[in-house]
């Protein structure tokens, strides 16, 4: 545990001594607030909730989380520090978990800074805070899931741009797979159970139920399994790279 803590601390030093974390946090806050107030018509809706805010968050995360994670392994590969790291007496999974936690922490810090919006809603009206809390949990799960994808794909390349673009695409795929846009492609030939399965993978479906305050155990299992799968795949990739050099 101490090792994971030390590794996470190093990752966070990297995020916060370089402009990465600050740029991410500032731009994320600016865009999320701009979307909430202008596109989401926060005041115009005249309702004491944060739906106008939550509805844009997964879309912002599709771009912002890969922007945080793109350097996690790609930069190590480029600088040659993977060799330093993986010849230390630590398990590969510890490195993966530490990088995941650090990226997740950066996104959580950004999310926590949106709490004034929650306070504003409480000041202006009488919202259901349980629903808002569930919405924030949904944001945590989505950012965790995307961070796990981004870190895993970053371990495949030493090029940060490739890591970023591929992560955006995969995250987008998991975000959209419950929408007619994707399901219609399968509609003609796929059996119903397959369509159901594909839509079950959609982040939007799970996030929508959370942001309405429905905390379903299946949603929890889905996100935990999703994150676990990508972190495991990441460990396997790094172990495999030892064969290939």
């Amino acid at each position: 545990m101490n090792i994971i803590f030390s590794l996470t601390k190093r990752e966070l030093v990297n995020y916060f001594t370089t402009p990465i974390a600050y740029v991410f946090i500032v731009v994320f806050l600016l865009l999320s607030q701009a979307f909430t107030f202008y596109l989401g018509h926060f005041f115009g809706r005249n309702e004491a909730d944060l739906m106008a805010f939550f509805s844009f968050i997964p879309w912002l995360y599709v771009v912002f989380i890969p922007a945080i994670t793109m350097q996690s392994f790609a930069q190590e590969h480029k600088m040659g520090t993977t060799e330093l790291l993986l010849t230390l007496p630590i398990a590969t999974y510890q490195v993966v978990i530490a990088k995941f936690i650090a990226a997740w922490v950066v996104s959580i810090v950004a999310l926590l800074l949106t709490i004034p919006l929650w306070i504003t809603v409480n000041y202006l009206g009488d919202p259901d805070n349980g629903v808002i809390l569930a919405g924030y949990m949904g944001c945590l799960f989505v950012s965790g899931g995307f961070a796990a994808v981004g870190i895993c794909l970053s371990s495949l390349t030493s090029n940060q741009v490739i890591a970023f673009v591929s992560s955006v695409l995969v995250c987008l795929l998991f975000l959209l797979c419950g929408l007619p846009l994707v399901l219609d492609i399968f509609q003609g030939f796929a059996p119903l159970w397959l369509l159901d399965t594909i839509s079950q993978f959609s982040f939007l479906t799970h996030f929508a139920s959370l942001s309405k305050g429905l905390l379903d155990s299946r949603t929890l299992v889905y996100f935990v399994t999703f994150i676990g799968f990508w972190l495991y795949a990441n460990t396997v990739i790094l172990e495999y790279k030892k064969n290939a050099g």
């Binding site: 030390s6 601390k9 060799e83 010849t87 007496p89 030892k242 050099g245």
Partner: protein, 245 residues
Amino acid sequence: MDAIISISQLSKHFNGITVVDNLSFDVQRGEVLGFLGPNGAGKSTTMKMITGFLTPSAGQVLIEGMDMQIYPTAAKRLLGYLPEGAPLYADMTVSQFLHFMADIRQLEGNYKKQRLDYAIDKTHLDTVLHQTIDTLSKGFKRRVGLAQAILHDPAILILDEPTDGLDPNQKQEVRQLLAEIASEKAIIISTHLLEEVDAICTRALIIAGGKLIKDSSPQALRSQSPSGRLDDLFRQLTSEKQTRN
């Protein structure tokens, strides 16, 4: 006496190309082994396999009787490694980096402080402790790499071109440091510099085309050279091998 490092029938192939070919040798405590060979001879690849960064295609690496593939964490605890080019975390200060390495090596309390002081003192890093690594000269970076390798007082040191980029005075200091600690450790150094073999190695191992072609003391090697010079013998042996390949 049991060997502290035992390499048997070690091979590595990359995409059908044999880089290390059936290499076997042992290293005892107190030995300083000079690993010699032309560029592309397989020196660094062998070192990467000894330190567990690469998985051998065939063969075995035993570190104090422990198979690197089966007990990687325990085996790596006994190693101090300076990879080729001394990759480091450029965004950290020297002090942050060495503390990070000490934490990962699980050094604690007084012992941690003592080892940090020792490594900093021996590599003369006290003047740059609070500088970020990316602002350091090549020589200082190499010394930071050396400091992290000796930090935990490992029984085995694997150093890939440790004096590359150092000026003659700094080279002399590194050699002196290695001579000081050599009696209780097993040290493997890869180098192009034959003078280095003369200066610090108790044994020299010449490889070319991934194969072991000479394993002898520097004195015995010199006696085999018609001119009495190591570099003439090195040229003769490695060019023969390259011609045969």
